[in-house]
């Protein structure tokens, strides 16, 4: 099960977030909001770092199969 830690943010930002959350539905707390936003940002960065999952040999063999099946 996930464990939690504390992250410091400026109190002024926390107050702005509390106001925002009070207006918008869906978030229960500042922590929920921050978790949501950070997950979005982290995923965006992680996606940029993923290499293609196949080798040049795979590529040639697979293209041959795709051609034989009429996909290419």
């Amino acid at each position: 099960m996930p464990k939690y830690t504390s992250v410091s943010i400026p109190l002024t930002l926390q107050k702005r977030l509390e106001k925002l959350i009070a207006k918008k539905t869906g978030f229960k707390s500042v922590s929920d909001y921050v978790t949501y936003v950070l997950r979005e940002v982290v995923a965006m960065h992680e996606m940029k770092e993923v290499p293609e999952p196949f080798t040049s040999t795979d590529l040639a063999e697979i293209k041959e199969r795709l051609r034989a099946l009429g996909y290419l």
């Binding site: 996930p2 979005e40 995923a43 999952p53 293209k63 795709l66």
Partner: protein
């Protein structure tokens, strides 16, 4: 550039032939018999459809998925992938065990990672949102074992897909296919049905916004009243040959047992198609639902909870033929009532085909109706 695989890694388990020495010489107490559906899961893990999973879930992942809809490492995941089996085995942690089918043929080599008990009641309530045994997913869980056997796959035998082999592509293959076609954005369409006109409009509306459409019908165990696998494939072949642009549409089948878990399954459908390289997925009305267990658009709502899913859902209201509009419309575009909507329930459709009738062309392309009519028993009984 195709969409990166889920969790950042396309899992590829080493393939082995049935006769491979790595799969030979196992004693009976080192073997575990698994059913056809579990063998399909093995295949999906092995070729990366379920990336980043490289085996059957352990307890930490399981509990995290139930409680938080995420794997232990925070990656979104909504339905546990478990190997439910008997208690009466004596495997030790780290043992290599051979998963075999009913005929004692090897399916995969797995490193045993322990076992744990599940509560079927808890599983049903948290995954399906109900413990009503009339729900097909709930019924399946209550009919199965409570012992979950965890383990990492070390090697897997390539499954024999028989008549569907030429229509079955792995994630690695679709990734290369989409790249070769120059598609940067590909929308997936999940289906377990023969295509109606409304499906066609849904798909083409989505295709208008991206480079390619990946039609990915699900083949495998389904509930009574659903179209049989061979009918789904044949009808899609018929509609694609006549009404779809060849350069921007691809179809291959997915071997997978429907869970009918509504919103939670919609997320799993998105994850699987992400692993195939898709960037978008069409989510329409009552996606992956059954009966009235889920709200008509619950499968759209759930996507709000996953900012890091890495898939863009394309939400659509239901399309239908409106007699007064004299064309295809949707709840969003049409002001008319139910009485003007051309709709057939599954029951009525089954009755029509059984009596040799076909639905009107405003509901189903004639080529699709004719294809269905060629089958003596087109529906799962």
């Amino acid at each position: 550039m195709t969409n990166p695989p889920h969790g950042g890694k396309l899992v590829q388990i080493r393939q082995a032939s049935r006769e491979s020495s790595a799969l030979a010489g196992f004693k009976e107490n080192q073997k575990l018999k698994i059913g056809k559906e579990a063998a399909t899961v093995v295949s999906n893990i092995a070729n990366g459809v379920f990336s980043p999973l490289d085996g059957f879930m352990g307890e930490n992942d399981y509990l995290n998925v139930l409680e938080h809809m995420r794997l232990e490492n925070d990656v979104p995941w909504t339905i546990p992938i478990l190997l439910l089996g008997p208690h009466d085995h004596h495997f030790g942690s780290g043992d290599e065990i051979l998963l075999v089918d009913d005929a004692d043929h090897p399916v995969a080599l797995m490193e045993y990672g322990g076992n744990f008990e599940i509560s079927r009641q808890e599983y049903a309530s948290k995954v399906f949102g109900t413990d009503d045994k009339a729900h097909p997913g709930v019924a399946k869980i209550f009919a199965g074992n409570e012992c979950a056997i965890a383990g990492k796959l070390k090697a897997a035998v390539k499954p024999d897909h028989g008549d569907y082999a030429d229509f079955t592509l792995t994630p690695k293959e679709t990734r290369i296919l989409f790249a070769e076609k120059g598609w940067n954005n590909t929308v997936a369409f999940q289906t377990r049905n023969a295509p109606h006109i409304n499906h066609e409009y849904l798909q083409k509306s989505a295709l208008a916004l991206v480079d390619g459409l990946f039609v990915n019908p699900v083949l495998g165990k389904k509930k009574a009243g659903d179209f049989k696998d061979e009918v789904i494939l044949a009808t899609y072949q018929a509609i694609m040959a006549n009404y779809y642009p060849r350069n921007s549409v691809v179809m291959s089948v997915l071997h997978y047992e429907m869970q009918y878990a509504g919103p939670k399954e919609a997320i799993m459908h998105a994850i699987m198609r992400k692993n195939f390289g898709c960037t978008h997925i069409i989510i329409g009305r009552d996606h992956a639902g059954v009966g009235s267990y889920y709200g008509p658009y619950a499968a759209q709502e759930i996507f709000k909870e996953f900012p890091d899913l890495g898939m863009s859902p394309m939400f659509f209201k239901e399309f239908y033929y409106c007699k007064r509009c004299a064309g295809i419309a949707s709840e969003k575009t049409c002001p008319h009532g139910e009485e003007d909507k051309l709709a057939f329930s599954g029951t009525k459709l089954r009755k029509m085909f059984a009596e040799g009738e076909v639905p009107p062309k405003e509901f189903m392309r004639p080529e699709v109706s004719q294809t269905i009519s060629k089958f003596k028993h087109p529906f799962v009984e």
